[in-house]
């Protein structure tokens, strides 16, 4: 019964979205305040509808209602409760429901916290947001109904891929969708700006918090997915340039460009048209990502939908939304004028260069991901574009991005003094080369690519720190003043430093693990020791036991360095009888400089076991860097000028929504 109520609630959400996509828009165009206000209510009702539908489906999973097709196909009564719940979105139908839940959530947030946004812009934005929703509600209801029943329910479900029965990957989709789908707000604001014809610094200030929120979620989601691959797939890899990974990485890259160009709009009233185009393209890539993953056009580790009718449906939606927005752009964008003027050497130019490079890397990932598909459609030739291609094309441009990120903050707005910038860049370069030389000599490192990577990471880190210190008054100001200034810095400045610092840290980690990791694969018996880099791994014991829905062998590994015990690792080999599938659970100990990582493989039948041991330097820095980058977005979000109720914002709210009496 609750399942049918859920189905009904979803239809209700569709109806609310239909109203929300038409009435407020008409209101904004004709100046009817009453019609515009409908947008807020409709957004709230729409959210309640989807939330109800989502709750109903979740309940069906929790109570293992196998008369629901989705539950029967993807769940099992023996699964732990946590994975019954996360199983809701670990399949096509449920994940699309999560998609629209996020979409409606962002609509709800705009209706609740968007009080500072002028009524006409808010109403139009909500209308566009709902137009996106309508398409995806229809998609779910017509092709991917999660509430479909089966006439003769099975006694038990088919279970869920055990690789996905893990907390890291369970939280990955909600965060990823927060980003993917959250970028719909940028799209809605951009289209609304084109409709209402109003684009100015205030517009960028209203749009930017939503982009920041989405971007932070996407950052966390990507990092979490990468972390999961690292500890769960069991060979120490963390990024594979898999098309599904690329599908989430492209919106991140171009979304990063959008975040930065929106700053130029906000502060300098320049790059207006470009920022609107970026906002449209960012959501376009989110939709393309959804299409690639959900249509099953790629067959890769994570894609599990295989019905082409769904792909065609999403493709049509994609064409309507993106094609429509681009047509509107072509029609209306010429009316938008930039007024900000700036010199060649200026912060604006630096951010423009950031955009050039970020858009280029997005393009590179796009072409690399879609080229095999396009070629196969064109002449049937099957080729593969794998990690080596991306390493050769993506990494050099990304290195340039890091250099620009380092130097950008040195440039002042409008006009910078070239001599000052070059002098400071020279200092930073000198320090980072010296630092790298010290590291190379101290640890006896040689590989030129790795050392170049260290120089670039250090360059970004030192430049970021130097910018912080200079703004705090170093050198010159007394220590007390410096500390007071550091504490009093605006949150957006902290966002910059933490974000760029996090990028430097993550990059250093990637370089370190790519170049200097140590790996040994061997068959060992109990008691046998193996040297891995400076460490020694020994297999002590193996114990067979039983988990909630799997059997497992747990190995005890002793890791020593120069004869002293460092840690014990307990890698597992699990067997999930319902799914008839094995998984590996790596044993990992994180030290500040790297991970000790052990994997238990198959027994050889003669008392030995295949084991893989790794020392992965830098890996913890990658995760810390990812966390810092996520944090940087959230910290910027709390900046005074973006906060609801900031003095300037309060005035505009009063202007924006006049009471009926005052309007008269």
């Amino acid at each position: 019964m609750s399942v049918e109520l859920g189905h009904f609630a979803l239809i209700l959400a569709l109806v609310a979205a239909l109203i929300q996509s038409s009435l407020p828009l008409w209101g904004a165009l004709s100046g009817s305040a009453a019609a515009m206000r409908v947008g807020d209510r409709a957004a709230q009702i729409q959210f309640l509808g989807v939330a109800g539908a989502f709750a109903a489906l979740t309940w069906a999973y929790v109570v293992s209602d196998f008369s629901v097709l989705s539950v029967a196909m993807n769940s099992h009564s023996s699964k732990p409760l946590l994975y019954k719940i996360t199983g809701v979105w670990a399949n096509h139908e449920g994940s699309m429901l999560l998609w629209v839940l996020m979409l409606a959530l962002f609509g709800l947030l705009i209706s609740v916290f968007g009080g500072v946004i002028p009524a006409a812009l808010r109403a139009t934005t909500l209308a566009v947001q709902a137009m996106v929703g309508v398409g995806f509600y229809l998609f779910i209801l017509l092709t991917s109904n999660p509430f479909e029943r089966i006439a003769r329910p099975p006694l038990d479900g088919q279970g869920m891929n055990p690789l996905l029965q893990d907390i890291g990957i369970a939280l990955h989709p909600p965060l990823l969708y927060m980003g993917y789908v959250g970028f719909s707000t940028a799209f809605s604001f951009a289209v609304a700006a084109l409709i209402t014809g109003r684009v100015d610094p205030a517009w960028a200030r209203w749009m930017r918090p939503w982009v920041l929120l989405a971007w932070s979620g996407l950052t966390a989601g990507i990092a979490l997915g990468s972390w999961w691959a690292y500890y769960e797939l069991g060979w120490g890899g963390f990024w594979f340039w898999d098309p599904v990974e690329n599908a989430s990485f492209m919106p991140w890259l171009i979304g990063t460009a959008l975040l930065h160009s929106a700053i130029v709009v906000e502060k300098r009233n320049a790059l207006l048209k470009w920022t609107i185009l970026l906002a449209i393209l960012t959501f376009a890539l989110s939709l393309i990502g959804t299409f690639l993953v959900r249509s099953g056009i790629l067959t890769s580790v994570h894609a599990f939908a295989t019905d082409p009718s769904r792909g065609a449906f999403i493709l049509v939606l994609l064409s309507i939304y993106i094609g429509g927005a681009l047509c509107l752009y072509a029609w209306r964008a010429n009316a938008i004028r930039d007024t900000g003027v700036f010199a060649l050497w200026s912060r604006e130019s630096g951010l423009l260069l950031n955009n050039v490079l970020l858009v280029s890397v997005t393009g590179i990932v796009f072409v690399g991901t879609l080229y095999p598909l396009a070629l196969e459609l064109y002449n049937g030739a099957k080729i593969t574009v794998g990690a080596p291609y991306f390493n050769q094309t993506f990494l050099p441009v990304f290195a340039a991005i890091m250099l620009v990120a380092a130097l950008g903050p040195f440039l002042s707005w409008k006009r910078a003094r070239r001599a000052d910038v070059l002098r400071r860049a020279g200092w930073v370069l000198g320090l980072s080369v010296a630092g790298t030389a010290g590291i190379a000599l101290g640890f006896g490192l040689r590989e030129p690519v790795g050392l170049l990577g260290i120089v670039i990471s250090l360059f970004l880190a030192i430049a970021t720190l130097a910018d912080l210190l200079r703004r705090a008054g170093v050198p010159g100001a007394p220590i007390g003043t410096v500390l007071r200034r550091i504490i009093g810095m605006p949150r957006s400045a902290w966002g910059l430093w933490i974000g760029h610092g996090g990028l430097a840290l993550a990059a250093a980690g990637v370089v370190a693990v790519s170049v200097w990791s140590a790996e040994e694969i061997q068959t060992v018996r109990k008691g046998e020791e193996t040297a891995v880099g400076p460490y020694s791994f020994a297999l002590i014991d193996i114990e067979n036991t039983q988990g909630p829905n799997y059997q497992t062998s747990i190995a005890a590994l002793r890791v020593t360095r120069n004869g002293e015990l460092v840690t014990m690792l307990f890698p597992e080999r699990r067997w999930y009888p319902v799914e008839q599938q094995p998984t590996t659970e790596a044993g990992i100990r994180t030290l500040w400089h790297g991970d000790l990582y052990g994997v238990l493989g198959d027994p050889d039948g003669r008392g030995g076991y295949v084991t893989r041991y790794y020392y992965n330097p830098g890996v913890p820095w990658m995760w810390a860097g990812g966390a810092l980058i996520t944090l940087s977005g959230l910290i910027s979000l709390t900046d005074r000028r973006l906060r609801v109720g900031a003095p300037s914002a309060r005035r505009s709210r009063r202007r924006a929504t006049p009471s009926p009496v005052a309007a008269e």
Binding site: F240, V356, P388, S412, Q581
Partner: protein, 163 residues
């Protein structure tokens, strides 16, 4: 109706059965004793795609076919082939599909030119924008005269009204 429901169930049952096949991760038995040859074999393994897998290299994959391909790579290395010859040997048998690093040929020309194309195009766009919007050269020296400084101090301490 019933058939439409049963079909995906059957497909997923087949898929589940397939994934239940025993794992063949890189096995010490396959490996060279010579660390130099072994390193070459691993590096080559990262350049080759497991033909039945979903975007995995044969080095990373646990599939049986990946193990077979790793063995072939090692046989070719043992036979004295250069890295290029090993890749070419596999390409002749499995097609371009196995190469994770696609060859630069007529049909991959766009793929390999695209990165440069994006940089040039977006760079040109930015250049045009700068040409149209950029004004002014280097910033003037911000050094203040003593008089300026005194006036600024007065303004800051509130002794003088803003002009």
């Amino acid at each position: 109706m019933k058939r439409a429901v049963m079909k995906p169930i059957l497909i997923s049952a087949v898929l589940l059965a397939m994934t239940g096949a025993p794992a063949h991760a890189l096995d010490p038995n396959e490996m060279f004793d010579d660390p130099v040859l072994e390193q070459r074999a691993r590096d080559l393994g990262r350049e080759l795609r497991c033909v039945k897998c979903r975007n995995q290299s044969i080095f990373d994959s646990n599939a049986g076919i990946a193990q077979d391909m790793r063995v072939v790579v090692r046989e070719r290395i043992a036979a004295g082939d250069s890295d290029e010859e090993v890749l070419e040997w596999l390409r002749e048998r499995y097609g371009d599909y196995v190469l994770l690093n696609p060859r630069a040929t007529g049909q991959t020309a766009l793929l390999w030119l695209a990165p440069l194309g994006f940089l040039v195009l977006s760079g040109l766009g930015a250049g045009v924008y700068l040409y149209r919007h950029a004004g002014g050269g280097d910033a003037p020296d911000p050094a203040l005269s003593d008089e300026d400084r005194a006036r600024a101090q007065a303004l800051l301490s509130g002794r003088e009204k803003t002009p």
